[in-house]
Symmetry: C2
Subunit: 648 residues, 2 copies
């Protein structure tokens, strides 16, 4: 079959592709990840590229107008190679950028880290420890065998009832110990109640022991490199989960996993992302990959299944049963993760099919279970998870929030990478009077927090009504018809943006956000209702998730995502998942606490069977709610704005 | 390079061999194991074959006279292919025959087995158990994950604090459980304080669970196939350890292991022997190999190291330190043993470099540690091991007995296979008045027990003096010169033997036996002396080892191998090593008893540093001893024989 050269710009990377292959496939082969929410079905319009030269064929699409096409624009998934081609992939169509949340989390971890160590909540005991041993040389009087000699020395440091050692380490042991003159470093790994001598290194290598904490989200993977000798985070990085190409949410992934080779493709994909992150981390930090001894990951139940190559099929079907909630500690190499040769991979346990280790990590970090006060935790991801409880009990549920908090399903939506508007303030008529753009560049689009600010601002300005419809009189000239003929409110005109195209919101965009926020709010209300409580009983609200970093609490209340409570009780946690993974990596006591005091105490409430949820969900499809009196501060502000005493 | 056809008779097996290859190598290629004590150096003379046709070249040798050579006799290791050849390998030059001890041990095990089970010494709990589980099908109310559901059901049967499951089993679990409609059999394996779900099989397979107990001796490997559901031995088999081709004793093996690839060659060799035994066992018993779930082996420390591929080098050098005394439980496949896919291999722990799991097995079987009476255990192998103690203390030592008890180093010596004279009685002038031949055939040679009887008989008849020298007047015409010009006492003239050659003993043969027995006796005496006791304090003497099966206690005392004590205190144990391995396989409590009450209680005494041993060893180089009054019954018999009151 005839093949052609496909060159990607500005990467200047060329691959050969057979005639008829899509540009999206060619990009994958070139290692360029193009945004691709729908999985290549041509229905999301996110994979827009520009054909700079050469011959292609393409299917018709609603996402491109004549002007776009004349400028060379094309959807990568609907456009096929028909000759040598030069393709430009613009930044907004790329995934793999680094969300800047990583750095903030690294800073936040300073506080969390204070809970680990001598006299702190969790005594320091990394999941893989290095212990330098100066063994007494054997004599006729003390002719203990090499393995038992090593064990004896280790036990002088630690009280370890069950120690194990693999055959391959044992095979090298005698030579190693003699080569280093009986001065060696034992790597001790926690493996579900036992301790494995993971490896024995000659000499004193105890000063170089690193671990990688992972938050494996459906959309984003965050990785922190931690110095296990002192708990410091020395590098942080993140990238999008390339599995997105095979479906945006967990249900789509599970369905893909059910196709031929689907599971192994998904596993390979996430492992490749993780390996990419880890090699970037060790490069940045100037650390030898061989000195990375463990990986600890927190993720939702499906992500953990896919990482381990476990069949997630039954997570999706009634009665929603995962393969395991407590995956075994394995060698990272068993799933293809490349760290030190015999390094371990520990996945945080999960609670149920839709409440994973990421949520347990949040609970660990927020310490809900260490206080008598009632706390509500909301983890906002593609799936929203909620936890309610205190030191005596814990309930949790999950709510399908959809991708809008992460920029999905929104025309001008994007993830929180460079160019994303992460906050903005609107003035009269919806004019932008202030905004923050990630990286300080010209705006490219809105990430979730910017979107909430925009909708809250439009509502406050009266540009939209409480159903999310535009009020044309108030909007004025900013409301225009876009190429698709829809009404669109222009936040940033083309001349102010990085791409020269307007950044605008349509009613469909606003409607998507309303459904997302309604689903989360309703889930919280139902969870409280389930135990006969209301929002007014809650003393702390924690907002976690990568999204949660830039959340404007006021704006989130304004649109009805968060309940209208005393502002001081809200705390933005950040990425609790990666923070919790780090705590566990630094202290097996933290892991034990999760297992014995969090996971086992947590009751999962299945909302899909809740009548209240189904009946009252539609009440939440208003801004902030059908019954505005549930949001008294919003009601009051609205009344003030409309003139005192004006009828709502 | 030119190759020739080498045909072995009576096997009628032909292989191609390059010009210049030894007949020994060609035999190996043909799968025919030729006795080869010296490792192919031409110094043992055991590999005698007959060249029936064809052209060979050969090095000169002292082991063949002109007549032998004219009849075609050749040493396989010193004879080289120079054309197509037909070679006959006579029975006495072959190894790989089945010592008949296996069957006797199987019978003996009936008694031992009574110690295992409900209300017995060791509760029944095989190292790999099969548990049939009827799991409740998951519902929304009981939506426990598959792994946790399985664990919950297992824990209804057993109290298991730490359970583990490998990734590969977990990966198949969801499918397996649903395919069999939640009726499945879990294989639970004991792994050093934890329990592994080794595998999960659909349906009820609990009735088919088999294990193989191995005694891996330096010379002989014994294998018993046990039905783990009821403890019955359903097949038994044995073969010579093919490692013998690389050296007869542990020291020679350790040295070979130190050569390039030596360790892996030795490992492959013993694994191949074991696999051969196991496939024969399952074939004989009509059992599926896949239903063999565990292998338990007892062996000396070096044999265990070689099986596991652990470097034994330091066992040989002061201060005699093995790599491990407590090898980890591993998957049998890790060393190449083929049983059920994920079956486990457990090696009994060892005590010291020269006291292995075989001796611990002996102690378990004899129950020395369960009695207040002082017992002495003697395990007679290529290396002799001795244990002294009671329920309060245990001491052990080892003595290099040499191969003579197993037929090595003796002109007419052979192992206890078909044709071996296992007992004999001599009358006046050393005439054979009764004998037992293994298999009831014409005699081929003397095995260890026959050798002891012969020397004891010659001594009683006055044919040899107490130094082991022939007394020509008494011997009469039975004392002749052999082909090498040595004086040889003819026990069976050529016309009575299977090969037509005389079975005769030389003074050198007798001297070898005297050194062997002296070494064992002296070791026993030193061990007693070490704790300030004498033979008269001993209440039980147990004699173990494959050799021990046919031992005539009276004759052994006569030559000074065993002390002259009340005959009723001697008990022949048989192959305690394989018996103990079986007990362990059937009850993890027996393994725990070995670990906690035998291995840990045992103190190893290094005789090579004992002055008494070095000083008084020469006193033992007489029959029975320089000081015959130490053997009063022998002294009395001698006096009676020489006429009452005659001077010794």
């Amino acid at each position: 079959m005839k093949t052609y050269a496909v060159t990607f710009q500005p990467d200047n990377c060329t691959v050969r592709a057979a005639a008829g292959r899509s540009i999206l496939d060619a990009a994958k082969a070139a290692g360029i990840t193009i945004n691709n929410v729908c999985g290549g079905d041509g229905v999301c319009g996110k994979c827009r590229v520009v054909i700079r030269a050469g011959k292609v064929t393409a299917k018709p699409t609603m996402f491109l107008n004549r002007h776009d096409i004349q400028r060379g624009a094309a959807l990568a998934c609907q456009t096929y190679v028909a000759g040598d081609v030069v393709v430009e992939v613009p930044p907004e169509s790329r995934t793999g950028g680094i969300p800047h949340l990583a750095h903030e989390d690294a800073v936040r971890f300073g506080k969390v880290c204070a809970k680990i160590g001598e006299g702190a909540t969790y005594p320091s005991s990394p999941l893989v420890r290095k212990v330098f041993l100066e063994l007494p040389q054997p004599t006729v009087e003390d002719s203990l065998a090499d393995q038992e000699r090593l064990y004896r020395s280790v036990r002088k440091h630690y009280d370890l009832p069950i120690m194990q050692m693999g055959l391959s380490v044992l095979r090298r042991l005698s030579n190693t110990l003699r080569r280093c003159n009986w001065k060696a470093t034992a790597l001790l790994g926690s493996r579900g109640g036992t301790v494995e001598v993971v490896d024995v290194e000659p000499g004193n290598t105890a000063a170089t022991n690193y671990g990688v904490a992972l938050d494996i989200g459906t959309t984003t993977i965050v990785a922190h490199l931690v110095d296990l000798t002192n708990g410091e985070t020395i590098a942080a990085n993140a990238r999008y989960n390339s599995q997105s190409a095979f479906g945006e949410d967990v249900i789509a992934r599970i369905m893909y996993a059910g196709t031929a080779d689907g599971l192994s493709v998904l596993q390979d994909t996430v492992v490749s992302d993780i390996n990419g992150l880890i090699s970037a981390l060790v490069f940045d930090a100037g650390v030898r990959l061989a000195d990375v001894t463990c990986v600890v990951c927190a993720g939702n139940t499906t992500m953990v299944h896919l990482l381990l190559g476990l069949d997630p099929a039954h997570i999706r079907c009634d009665p929603y049963v995962p393969c395991t909630l407590n995956p075994p500690v394995i060698r990272a190499a068993e799933v293809g993760i490349t760290i030190g040769a015999r390094g371990l991979l520990t996945a945080l346990p999960c609670v149920a099919s839709y409440v994973g280790g990421d949520v347990l990590a949040d609970v660990l970090v927020t310490e809900i279970t260490r206080s008598e006060e009632l706390s509500l935790l909301i983890d906002l991801g593609t799936n929203g998870e909620l936890v309610l409880g205190n030191s005596e009990w814990l309930m949790c549920c999950s709510a399908s929030a959809g991708p809008s908090f992460e920029g999905g399903g929104i025309g001008c939506g994007m993830r929180a990478t460079s160019g994303a508007v992460e906050w903005l303030t609107l003035g009269e008529g919806g004019r932008v009077v202030g905004c923050g753009v990630v990286g300080g560049e010209r705006p490219l689009g809105l990430c979730g927090s910017g979107l909430i600010d925009a909708v809250a601002g439009l509502l406050s300005a009266g540009c939209i009504d409480r159903a999310g419809h535009f009020v044309a009189d108030v909007c004025g000239p900013r409301l225009q018809k876009n190429d698709a003929g829809e009404k669109a409110f222009i936040l940033f005109p083309g001349e102010q943006t990085a791409l020269g195209r307007d950044i605008a919101l349509t009613e469909a965009d606003i409607s998507n956000l309303i459904r997302s926020k309604g689903s989360v709010y309703m889930a919280a209300e139902c969870l409280l209702d389930h135990v006969g409580l209301t929002f007014h009983d809650v003393r702390n609200v924690y907002i976690a998730g990568g999204f949660g970093n830039h959340l404007g609490v006021e704006q989130a209340i304004r649109i009805g995502l968060l309940p209208d409570l005393e502002r001081s009780i809200f705390q933005v946690v950040g990425n609790g998942s990666v923070l919790g993974a780090k705590m566990v990596m630094l202290s097996e006591h933290a892991l034990k606490y999760i297992q014995d005091n969090i996971a086992s105490a947590m009751t999962y409430v299945e909302l899909s069977t809740s009548h209240k949820y189904m009946n009252e969900y539609t009440s939440c499809l208003f801004l902030p709610h059908t019954d505005i009196e549930r949001f008294p501060s919003v009601a009051k502000a609205t009344r003030l704005q409309n003139g005192s005493g004006a009828a709502e």
